[in-house]
Amino acid sequence: MKVIAKPKEEKELLIAVSEEAKPKDVQQGIIAQGQCCVDHLCGCNCSC
């Protein structure tokens, strides 16, 4: 078995929405999720 990606921890996944998040964490979380699509002409699955 070839491991391509390990499972993420819940704390790591939710860092951007956590109380202890620093402003930079929030910004990084948004960038990591690729949250850039505003006009959902598509109902797209772009992680916004």
Partner: protein, 447 residues
């Protein structure tokens, strides 16, 4: 021990391998046919005792990858908690401001009603007062300029962006400013002024080559717009290398296959500043992508286009985003601290709207207070987290429940459910095997 509900297996017949992906935790493992025989036994009976010599190490890998989990883990509850955390998120303020609903374009598939009028000084002042109260409460502010065509309200855009920039700096709040524009008025002067306000992030739509684009995205007088947009995009990218432009192609059966030619046409030196994204057109049967193309055809073509874009040097970050675990909400409109401010001072949640006053969820008063339209606000925020069918969907962690507006209006999750698994299958193969040309057949095995 028990088997995670969110295991997804995708076969690649060419390599005789299978990708084992877990949509809840994001783990990804490539397995041989021989290994899959043992894996299937273990997933069917995670507490079983088997005689094969390698099964112990395989079982441990499945536990490490969270394909097999502890009995007391409530996976649906994990997803519910993610969504609640996303909805309540008090770290970020998301703003979409529309300085006008008017537009200089008359695109064939546009869902908006372009009303004349733009934000006046009364609304501008009310908005600034509201921002003064709101911004310091957050750690991060995301501002999107939208419309109509926002550059038709250029003075308001500059005045409010600069106000927000100064306010955020004073308050120690991080920010990102973004504009969705058709790009026609993105002159040298306007791009320099926007850059001076720290606005470096743009989304501009080009629908294929000049021929297909000019048939779909034209000025109100019927004139094509491709050449001017192309020139403006190249100039904006070269004026300041910090400028990033999301090059969006809205596709249907008429232009889907022209995307590779479009990608070839932009000069090499700016491609790394262009982030490409391909999105299906929805709406009436004549223009709708899903009404005229199969899910398989869409996925095959767009996956191929993303691969071409990557090879040509474009920024292709969105390719993997559909596989990111940890998505909290389906879209921005589900967050409580997200607002769409219309030029009238009316407040909405979803940008796919005709912005009728009776649909607003609130209004800004002249003193900068947001007064909720309680019935509409409550209807939006008090919905169930998921529709019933979502609770048994293996793709739920990647989707988080579908469009809230569709759910509210039609009591369903929408017609795009089918695209999530199809795209997931493609993306998984791309991540795991890296060569989509060799992948002809697709198979999504879900529960």
């Amino acid at each position: 021990m028990k088997t995670s509900y969110y295991n997804i297996c995708v076969d690649n017949p060419d390599t005789k391998e299978t990708i084992l992906f877990n949509s809840l935790y994001g783990s990804l493992t490539v397995c041989t046919t021989r290994e899959m025989a043992s894996i299937n036994k273990l997933l069917a009976d995670p507490n079983g005792e088997f005689s094969e010599s390698k099964i112990t190490s395989i079982r441990q890998t499945l536990i490490d990858q969270k394909n097999i989990i502890m009995d007391d883990i409530d996976e649906l509850e994990i997803i519910r908690q993610r969504k609640l955390a996303g909805i309540r998120d008090e770290n970020r303020l998301d703003l979409i401001i529309m300085p006008t609903l008017d537009c200089n374009f008359a695109c064939t598939y546009c869902y908006e009603t372009h009303k004349p009028g733009k934000m006046d000084s009364r609304v501008e002042d009310a908005l600034k007062a509201w921002l003064n109260d709101q911004v310091p409460r957050f750690k991060f502010v995301m501002l999107h300029w939208f419309g109509g065509e926002p550059l038709l309200g250029f003075q308001q855009v500059i005045a409010i962006t600069r106000h927000l920039q100064e306010l955020a700096r004073r308050s120690g709040v991080e920010y990102v400013f973004h504009m969705t524009t058709n790009g026609y008025l993105l002159s040298e002067k306007s791009i320099l002024a926007l850059n001076d306000c720290d606005l470096f992030d743009f989304q501009i739509t080009i629908d294929g080559t000049a021929t297909t684009h000019d048939a779909m995205r034209l000025l109100k007088n019927g004139q094509g717009t491709f050449q001017r947009l192309f020139t403006n995009i190249v100039r904006a990218a070269r004026i300041d290398r910090r400028n990033k432009i999301t090059l969006r192609v809205n596709y249907n059966h008429q232009n889907l296959h022209t995307i590779p030619q479009l990608l070839e046409s932009f000069p090499d030196d700016i491609r790394s500043q262009l982030r490409v994204t391909f999105e299906p057109i929805f709406g009436s049967c004549e223009v709708s992508a899903t009404g005229n193309l199969s899910s398989q055809e869409i996925s095959q073509a767009t996956a191929n286009d993303y691969r071409i874009a990557k090879n040509l040097g474009y920024d292709v970050v969105l390719v993997g985003s559909g596989l990111n675990p940890g998505k909290t909400v389906y879209c921005y409109a589900e967050r409580t601290n997200q607002y769409i401010i219309n030029y009238t001072g009316d407040v909405y949640k979803c940008s796919v709207s005709r912005f009728e006053p009776e649909k607003r969820v609130g209004t800004l008063t002249s003193t900068g207070k947001l007064i909720h339209e309680q019935q509409n606000w409550d209807a939006w925020k008090d919905m169930d987290l998921f529709e019933t069918q979502c609770n048994s969907c293996v793709f739920l962690p990647l989707c988080m429940g579908g469009c809230r507006k569709t759910r509210l209006e039609k009591h369903g999750t929408g017609s795009f459910c089918a695209l999530v698994p199809t795209n997931t299958s493609y993306l998984l193969k791309q991540v795991a095997f890296g060569n989509l040309d060799q992948v002809i057949l697709r198979q999504v095995q879900s529960k």
